[in-house]
């Protein structure tokens, strides 16, 4: 399977059957692993990187979950392919800009992706739609154990898995959830939440990781520390932080409906109107409008089955995905026109809002 044919099929996140969760869009766990006796990718010479890439690729393609997956050297991917992989959260921006000797292996349903020679030799990642930390951990743990039978990991009994950056030592694990928190954003409570979450040893980032903005009111929450705790303990701690954020978000929603339903429904109704009638739409604006519609679904303004459509459009509205549907290179304003056209089409079929069902009591 090639990366190109993989990109032609919907990802785990764009999978229409999967979006049942109101607040957590996606769960993700990654493990950083390195091979013993080999310099880390950032310090290795090109020949050494190539050697590690070959060894890792071979071990991965022999493992059960990756057997019929797609693999490619980063240098063999087009800019557009790389961008689409980033938009699907299958590779990082760092990997897409990395020098020769980097690669990626992705399984068929795009729930597992392994970056080779990013910051570490291996960055194994498992994605699950919705709130599924335990399932994601069980899966990635088994894959890691399988790889360990073929690869000699750099490990110290005292410091755990040795990673290029000391901030990843120990478990090498970062578990995260992508959360949709529109009510906390509208209510101006995000800053408070970020501070509280930081104090609990967790980090809040935007949709595309470090330094990215939180368009669409989507945030990534993950553990900050990796050493001194078991994977299960980290996941448990993260899980309870996530539960409490969900609770705050749901409370904030209830309060918004209670205090000023008209204002909230006005926002949702306008978003719906724009998505049906716009002719020019930036990706940030699209994200924000889609976010309001998703909130509308959660509040019962639109039927439940719309959620999967919104979650798919969150990804398909990104610049790379819009560019792919065009025949030739687009300027960003041409992309905005095409994006508006695509969304108009999608929302021509979308269910009409019903503002009487919920929230008025």
């Amino acid at each position: 399977m090639t990366i190109a044919s993989l990109l032609a099929t919907p990802s785990e996140l764009t999978d229409t059957a999967s979006s049942k969760s109101a607040v957590v869009l996606m769960t993700r766990i990654r493990l950083a692993r390195n091979l013993a006796g080999k310099p880390f990718p950032g310090w290795a010479r090109e020949a050494q990187r190539a050697e590690v890439l070959a060894a890792c690729q071979e071990a991965l393609l022999a493992s059960a979950p990756m057997k019929r997956g797609a693999h490619a050297a980063v240098s063999a991917l087009t800019e557009l392919e790389k961008q689409m992989l980033v938009e699907r959260h299958l590779i990082s921006r760092e990997l897409s800009g990395s020098p020769a000797g980097s690669g990626v292996v992705i399984n068929k349903d795009q729930t597992v992706s392994v970056m080779i020679n990013e910051e570490d030799h291996l960055r194994i990642q498992v994605l699950r739609s919705g709130f599924q930390l335990k399932k994601a951990w069980n899966f990635i743990n088994a894959l890691d154990t399988e790889l360990e039978a073929r690869l000699d990991y750099a490990f110290s009994p005292r410091l755990g898995y040795l990673t290029a950056c000391p901030t990843n030592l120990g478990t090498g694990m970062r578990a995260s959830a992508m959360m949709h928190l529109p009510a906390l954003v509208i209510a101006g409570q995000m800053e408070k939440i970020v501070r509280a979450v930081n104090q609990l040893g967790m980090v809040v980032r935007g949709l595309f990781g470090e330094g990215s903005d939180a368009s669409g009111s989507i945030f990534q929450i993950s553990n900050q520390t990796t050493l001194g705790e078991s994977e299960e303990a980290i996941i448990k701690r993260l899980g309870s932080v996530l539960e409490s954020i969900i609770e705050h978000e749901l409370n904030a929603r209830a309060k918004l409906v209670e205090s000023d339903a008209t204002k909230l429904f006005d926002k949702i109704g306008r978003a719906y109107g724009i998505l049906q009638n716009c002719h020019q739409l930036t990706s940030t604006e699209a994200m924000n409008l889609l976010s309001l519609l998703r909130l509308g679904i959660d509040l019962g303004v639109f039927p439940e089955d719309g959620r999967a459509i919104i979650d798919r459009l969150f990804i398909e509205s990104q610049p790379g995905h819009i560019q792919r549907s065009a025949q030739h290179d687009l300027e960003s304003n041409q992309r905005d026109i095409l994006r508006a056209e695509r969304l108009r089409l999608e929302f021509a079929q979308f269910a009409k809002p019903n503002f009487t069902i919920n929230g008025q009591n």
Partner: protein, 169 residues
């Protein structure tokens, strides 16, 4: 008036003073405006003091200042520049540099998670075979053929165990 604080990252006077509490530990940092900007301190969501402290804690008088990693040639200065190490061995080479950082950076300083048991088993097996091969050589040289035969049998056994591992999957 007291003399102004110096920036933790450069010689300029510090004007930005930041305190972050992570895992109930207080992290403090003093920066000049330029460094604060370039390190993204102004963006509270994407910023972690741990990364910053990691670099600030490096001082040129550290005992590892002149040391070079035997395996990969990495030096403390390289770490200061990249914020990443050169190879797994660097953690042993620069242990006096790493250890004090960890307390600030992590919940604990000792690994409490998964252990790659199969990889470690394989490693100890390799080491045992290497040891036996040395013994075998010695025994042959000293014409202790009974011992040599014993070593050879044990090596063969271990090699077989390695080639046909208990299928754990």
């Amino acid at each position: 008036m007291a003399s102004p604080l110096k920036c933790d990252l450069c010689p300029n006077p510090a004007t930005v003073h930041l305190t972050q509490i992570v895992n109930n530990k207080v992290h403090k940092v003093d920066l000049c405006e330029a460094c604060a900007q370039s390190k993204g301190v102004t963006d509270p969501s994407g910023f972690s003091l741990a990364d910053l402290l990691l670099k600030a804690s490096l001082n040129p008088e550290a005992p590892t200042a002149g040391v070079r990693c035997e395996q990969c040639g990495f030096t403390q200065n390289d770490f200061k520049k990249h914020g990443r190490f050169g190879c797994p061995q660097c953690y042993a080479t620069f242990s006096t540099l790493v250890e004090p950082m960890l307390d600030n950076m992590h919940k604990g300083t000792a690994h409490a998670g998964k252990i790659p048991e199969r990889a470690l088993e394989r490693k100890s097996l390799h080491e045992r075979i290497a040891e036996l091969e040395t013994n075998l050589d010695k025994a042959v040289k000293s014409e202790l053929y009974e011992d040599a035969a014993r070593f050879r049998d044990e090596i063969n056994q271990l090699k077989q165990a390695f080639e046909h591992p208990k299928s754990a999957l």
